[in-house]
Subunit: 155 residues, 2 copies
Amino acid sequence: MYTYYSFGAFLMEIENILGYLLNTSARLIKHDMEKQLSDFKITTAQWAVLKLLDSWGELTQTEIADKLKSDKATIGSIVTRLRKKDLIVKRLSIKDSRANMICMTEQSKIMVKQIEKLARRTSLNALVGFNKEEKDRLIQALQRIIHNLDEAGNQ
Amino acid sequence: MYTYYSFGAFLMEIENILGYLLNTSARLIKHDMEKQLSDFKITTAQWAVLKLLDSWGELTQTEIADKLKSDKATIGSIVTRLRKKDLIVKRLSIKDSRANMICMTEQSKIMVKQIEKLARRTSLNALVGFNKEEKDRLIQALQRIIHNLDEAGNQ
DNA sequence: CACATACAATATGTATACATACTATTCATT
DNA sequence: AATGAATAGTATGTATACATATTGTATGTG
């Protein structure tokens, strides 16, 4: 049986520190997902942008950065790579000539639907042995952490 | 009041997908921690290596990579940077002349103790509003995820 | 001992992630 | 209308993160 460690433990080793645990689980799940995505020649970061566009329709790069809690520079380079693969199109905004509207292509609309299943499978791999209540509690805890840190960061 | 979303929701938007939530919370907590670490001219990845050495004593780069669930190339470059800052020393292993033992310096031993408090503060920032039970459940959930994915990845 | 295999570390290349600086454009206010 | 502040996006540089290939060393087996 696998042994768990408490957060309140006196001995605070790296393996028990929240930031390390979040970072490690995030890297491992990303790795699992990218293994599944390899056929699509796309990364998780690129997929997240497409998934967001699929929900919201066309967005500017700054809007994408805000919604994904990322930054303009990072989204800029992801958009460049998506465009090279013809998965998005940039259209100069009519309202604001500084801004580009990022739009999905037919190809990426189809791709996003196909990837949906893979994302669910990766979540299941990560959550083996979790019951519904445990899953829900985890998702809510992560949303609370993001809320806490996002608030603090935007002061 | 902030609204939470359930993992079992029919509409699976990017904001509710486990991998995205882990990745985002990991990035935000890393960002918070690195803000606090700025005086030490060190990153969280570099700190994790020092923290591990502080617990285990001298280790090879491969051992560090295994324990942090990272890889040799990544640890190699972190070790190079730590060495430039005189925070670690590389000693050729007596047993195995392919390997280097990575050892802390006096400077990094002191530094690690000072950083301990900052790590706790960052965890508190992230976990505002969590009670002890919620914190413990989260830590255990993350350790289970790492266990699940690490098992799967090492097949 | 010889040899195939495994392993430690390095080298190279791509993709985030993010700080900082810069350009072009827009907006607010006078 | 003029102008100073804010904003959208790009450019540059550093640091992971990781795949893949290479080099040198160790080890197990015949």
